[in-house]
Homo-oligomer: 217 residues x 2
């Protein structure tokens, strides 16, 4: 069992954090209940944001032609990644599913608008990236609420940003930051896909924690 | 009451998401229990990451001299922000506390290591920013777990990255992405500070949700 799930006796949030998976293959394709979807979007919208700018928007994509076009583009980019891999890694990659775009039946595209909040966003002056990072915090709220509701979420990143922007009508300076497959699932995998396929192993927490300075024990 | 908290009957995660606040003034300064801190860090470490790269590290900073030096730097950058504001906004900004660095007694610096996971991180080829974004997902897990545990978290972003990097011994290509004040709190504010100080109002969820294309209703 996941070590974070073992903390659920302290608070149910640990169970949700530990069960959350990046879903590709478990989608049933049945439509998501509208009330549930709005609760999940409300969770995303309650995320923290730099200067309370709330610079995100959520585009719900269900048109089969759009899902098809995006899936085709992603397949092409996944092939481009594969050809650069050493043989042994390429073989392993072949067994890994990188998206559930058609299977989920719903894409939630999270966008970032740098003009939201005016020219002087409190806290963004020296670290401009806190703008897009705010939208990423919203993604994690969405992911956890969806997990709590029994839905699956899969973040797809094998795409060229201008292609995705065109598909969902996003124009400069607004940017699409993420395509999230959201849908009903048969269940969530116990072990992350990439660990199960021996692409990578998880790192022990203890190695990631330092004192006073990076590397400080 | 926060509209997301009203969803808590569906799952306790909504209560946590709705109560979470970006804390500056409510820290008690009492040390955080070690077991609680490790649970919160375990939650952060269970975040999703591109290609299972887990590119984050967490530097726990408690040395008073470091807290003092960082707070002084942040005060300087907050002044630089203030002088650029129109008079009315500058007056309003004066009433807003932008950090609780000394008061919390603990800074958790979240770093990003682009070399983690080797040169070919699955899913990062076309969107390199999914690397740092992974560390930001970890921040939100940390924030929610801390909220569930009754702790407060405040993300401080009035700083120059090289200054923070020097303070905590982070060297290129690793980057510090966030300073999080983490500490015991008297309680969490009902209304976000920036809304209470009428810096900005929150946007209705309905305005942030679109169909098929950005702007599509």
């Amino acid at each position: 069992m996941d070590s974070v799930r073992a903390l659920a006796a302290h608070h149910p949030v640990y169970d949700v954090i530990g069960r959350r998976r990046d879903v590709r293959t478990e989608f049933t394709g049945r439509p998501v209940d509208e009330a549930v979807l709005w609760r999940v979007l409300a969770a995303a919208h309650a995320a923290p944001s730099v200067g309370l700018s709330q610079p995100w928007d959520f585009v719900l994509v269900r048109e089969p032609a759009t899902l098809e076009a995006f899936a085709a583009h992603v397949a092409e980019e996944a092939r481009a990644f594969a050809v650069e891999l050493p043989t042994e890694r390429r073989e392993r990659f072949r067994g890994i599913t990188v998206e559930g775009i058609r299977e989920s039946g719903l894409g939630v595209v999270v966008t970032y608008d740098p003009t939201r909040g005016g020219p002087r966003v409190l806290g963004r002056r020296t670290v401009q990236e806190t703008g897009p990072w705010s939208a990423v915090l919203a993604v994690q709220n969405l992911w956890l609420a969806a997990t709590a509701e029994g839905l699956g979420v899969g973040w797809v990143s094998f795409y060229r940003e201008p292609v995705l922007a065109d598909l969902v009508g996003v124009r400069d300076p607004v940017r699409p930051l993420a395509w999230l497959c959201v849908g009903e699932v048969e269940g969530l995998a116990e072990v992350p896909d990439l660990e199960r396929h021996r692409w990578r192993a998880r790192r022990p927490l203890r190695d990631a924690v330092h004192h006073e300075r990076l590397g400080g024990q």
